[in-house]
C-alpha cells in the first residue's frame, strides 16, 4: 500500500454557471469556480499558495486564446495576484486528473499548503469540430481524408468493435443515459438539471456517429469547476468534512499517434491506471461503494467498468442493468449525472463528486454509507487517471 494514503484531502469545491454559450469570457467562469471552492473551504484567497490546471480546448479549428477559450495558470495568476503563491503547474499527458495528482505531490513535498485545481471549458461559436483547411498533416493524414474528424467517430469505431465482438446491441446503453439523467436532477449545477430523459427520447434521438446517438455524447458547454486540496491535518480544521485520497493512478499505455479504433488502447490505458490505484489504496473493485467514470461519450463507461475491473470484458452493458447503477443500487454510478448530465467539463467534476460522496456532502444524491468512492477521470485511452477517496483514514 501507498505510504501517503489519506495524507491529502479534497476540501472545498466550486462551480461556475454552466451554459451552452456565454456572454462573459471563460476566465470569469474559472474565477467564479475558484472563488467558490476557496469560500466552500472557509479559506481566504490569500491562503491559496498552489495552482494547477489542464487548459486544453478539445474543439478543433478554433484559436486558443488565453482567458477566452482556455484558462491557463498564467491567466489565473494574473487574475488572483496571490500574495503567498509558492507553486504552480500545467500538465499535458494526463488531462485534469494529472493536475490533481501533481497538486497532491506538491502538498506531500511541502512546497505548498492549499492548492486550487480548476478545469474551464469553452464552447466556441459555430461548429465544434471546425476542421480547417484542405490539408491533413501529421497523424491526421491517415484519418481525416476518410472523414474521421472529431473524437466522436474515433470513439465510435472502438464501440462497434466492442458491440459486435461481444454480440451486444446499443439498446442497452439507454439505461446508462436515462439513469444518469435521473441522477442529474439532484445536481442543480448541471446543464441538464430540470430536463428529464426517457428511454423513448433516447431511441428517438438522431444518430451522430453510429453506434452513438445524440444522448451518447456530452453536450459542449461553457463553464468551470474547481477544488481545494490540502494536507489531511490542515483539512480537518477547515469548514467542510474532508474527503481523504486513498490512492491514485495514471494510464501507462500509449499506442502511436493516429492509430484509430483500437479497443486495446482503451482497455490497457484503463487497467494500467486502475492497477496502481488498487495497489496503492489496498482496495479492490468489490470494496467500492460508489463510482464516477468518465463519460464524455457513453462507451467510455463500458471501457472503464471493464478495464478497472468492476466486471469482465464484454459484460459492462449487462452490468449496468436492473438498477445496479441507481443511487440505491449495488454500484451507484456517475451520481452527479456525469458529463452526459452536467455538460462537457471533462473529468474534474467526476473527481469533485467522488470527493463529495466520500465526505457525505452530496445532498439529495448522497449514497448511503459511501466509504470507498472510486473515480475514473477522463477517457482511459489518451489521458486517463483514477482515484479512490474515503470518508475516514484507515
Amino acid at each position: 500500500m501507498w505510504e501517503n494514503r489519506c495524507k491529502i484531502v479534497v476540501s472545498g469545491v466550486g462551480y461556475s454557471k454552466v451554459s451552452r454559450m456565454a456572454d462573459i469570457p471563460l476566465a470569469a467562469h474559472a474565477l467564479e469556480a475558484v472563488k467558490g471552492a476557496v469560500a466552500d473551504s472557509g479559506l481566504e484567497m490569500s491562503d491559496i499558495d498552489g495552482l494547477a490546471t489542464y487548459p486544453e480546448l478539445p474543439a478543433t479549428g478554433h484559436a486558443e486564446i488565453d482567458g477566452i477559450s482556455v484558462v491557463s495558470v498564467n491567466c489565473m495568476m494574473a487574475m488572483l495576484k496571490l500574495p503567498n503563491l509558492t507553486w504552480h503547474i500545467q500538465v499535458g499527458t494526463t488531462n485534469i486528473g494529472g493536475a490533481v495528482q501533481q497538486a497532491t505531490n506538491a502538498l506531500l513535498a511541502g512546497v505548498c499548503k492549499y492548492a486550487v485545481v480548476w478545469r474551464a471549458m469553452h464552447n466556441p461559436r459555430g461548429t465544434y469540430q471546425n476542421l480547417p483547411g484542405a490539408q491533413a498533416a501529421g497523424a491526421t493524414q491517415f484519418t481525416a481524408p476518410y472523414g474521421f474528424g472529431g473524437p466522436g467517430q474515433g470513439m465510435a469505431v472502438a464501440y462497434t468493435r466492442w458491440l459486435e465482438k461481444n454480440n451486444q446491441t446499443r439498446d442497452k446503453m439507454a439505461t446508462l443515459a436515462v439513469t444518469q439523467r435521473k441522477h442529474t436532477q439532484h445536481n442543480p449545477h448541471a446543464y441538464f438539471h430540470g430536463t428529464p430523459l426517457t428511454r423513448e427520447d433516447y431511441f428517438a434521438s438522431r444518430m451522430v456517429a453510429h453506434p452513438f446517438c445524440l444522448f451518447d455524447c456530452d453536450i459542449p458547454v461553457q463553464g468551470a469547476v474547481a477544488i481545494v486540496l490540502t494536507t489531511a491535518d490542515r483539512g480537518r480544521d477547515l469548514k467542510p468534512k474532508p474527503a481523504y485520497l486513498a490512492g491514485y493512478g495514471q494510464r501507462l499505455h500509449f499506442e502511436t499517434a493516429g492509430r484509430i479504433g483500437s479497443l486495446s488502447s482503451y482497455m490497457e490505458g484503463g487497467s494500467s491506471s486502475a492497477k496502481l490505484t488498487w495497489e496503492r489504496s489496498g482496495f479492490t473493485p468489490k470494496d467500492v461503494d460508489v463510482a464516477q467514470i468518465y463519460d464524455g461519450f457513453s462507451a467510455s463507461v463500458i471501457y472503464g467498468l471493464e478495464s478497472y475491473g468492476f466486471c469482465k470484458e464484454g459484460e459492462a452493458l449487462d452490468f449496468i442493468q436492473d438498477g445496479r447503477i441507481e443511487l440505491d443500487g449495488d454500484l451507484p454510478l456517475n451520481t452527479f449525472g456525469g458529463s452526459l448530465g452536467t455538460g462537457r467539463i471533462h473529468g474534474l467534476w467526476h473527481i469533485i463528486e467522488g470527493a463529495l460522496q466520500a465526505s457525505g456532502r452530496a445532498g439529495s444524491r448522497q449514497v448511503k454509507d459511501a466509504n470507498v468512492s472510486f473515480v475514473g477521470a477522463s477517457a482511459p485511452i489518451v489521458t486517463g487517471t483514477t482515484f479512490i477517496f474515503v470518508s475516514e483514514p484507515y
Binding site: G133, A134, P145, Y146, G147, G149, V157, M207, G261
Partner: protein, 141 residues
C-alpha cells in the same frame, strides 16, 4: 449508396516518416512500414519500431486483403466537406499480413450498411490529385 462525388477530402501531407507510403499509393501499391529486425508491421508509420525499438524500418508491399476491425456510420453533418456523403461508413481495417496495424478507410462501392466487424475487404485506390492517391476499401470479391 453514399454519394462521394461532392466530397472534398483533406489532402494528406506526407512527412519524412510517411512519404514512402504515399509514393507507393501513387503507384496503386499498398506498402506498410515494417521493422527489418523483428518483422513487425506498424501503421501509422513511426520513427522507431514500437515492438523492439529498432530504427531499421522499411516499407514493404502488402497484398491488399484485410478484415474490418471496426467501423462507424457517420450521420453528423458538422464537417461540411463530408456532409453530402452522409450517411457513410468510415472503417478501420486490419491487413492480413500486418496484424495489429490498423488502417482507416471508407467502405466504397457498397451500401454503408454492409460495414460489419469481421467482413473481408480489399484495397482500392482513389486518386485525389497528381501527388496523392488514397488507399480505400471495397468488399472482397
Amino acid at each position: 449508396m453514399s454519394d462521394w462525388s461532392k466530397v472534398t477530402r483533406p489532402i494528406p501531407v506526407p512527412n519524412e516518416w510517411t512519404r514512402p507510403f504515399w509514393d507507393s499509393a501513387k503507384l496503386n501499391v499498398l506498402a506498410m512500414q515494417r521493422c527489418q529486425s523483428c518483422r513487425h508491421f506498424q501503421h501509422p508509420p513511426y520513427a522507431t519500431c514500437v515492438q523492439c525499438m529498432s530504427v531499421d524500418l522499411k516499407f514493404e508491399p502488402v497484398k491488399g486483403g484485410g478484415t474490418i476491425y471496426a467501423y462507424t456510420i457517420m450521420y453528423h453533418t458538422g464537417d461540411k466537406r463530408f456532409a453530402s456523403a452522409v450517411p457513410y461508413a468510415s472503417i478501420v481495417v486490419e491487413m492480413d499480413e500486418a496484424p495489429g496495424a490498423l488502417m482507416a478507410g471508407n467502405l466504397l462501392e457498397a451500401e454503408y450498411t454492409e460495414a460489419k466487424v469481421g467482413r473481408r475487404v480489399e484495397v482500392i485506390f482513389e486518386k485525389l490529385n497528381d501527388d496523392i492517391t488514397l488507399p480505400q476499401f471495397r468488399l472482397a470479391r
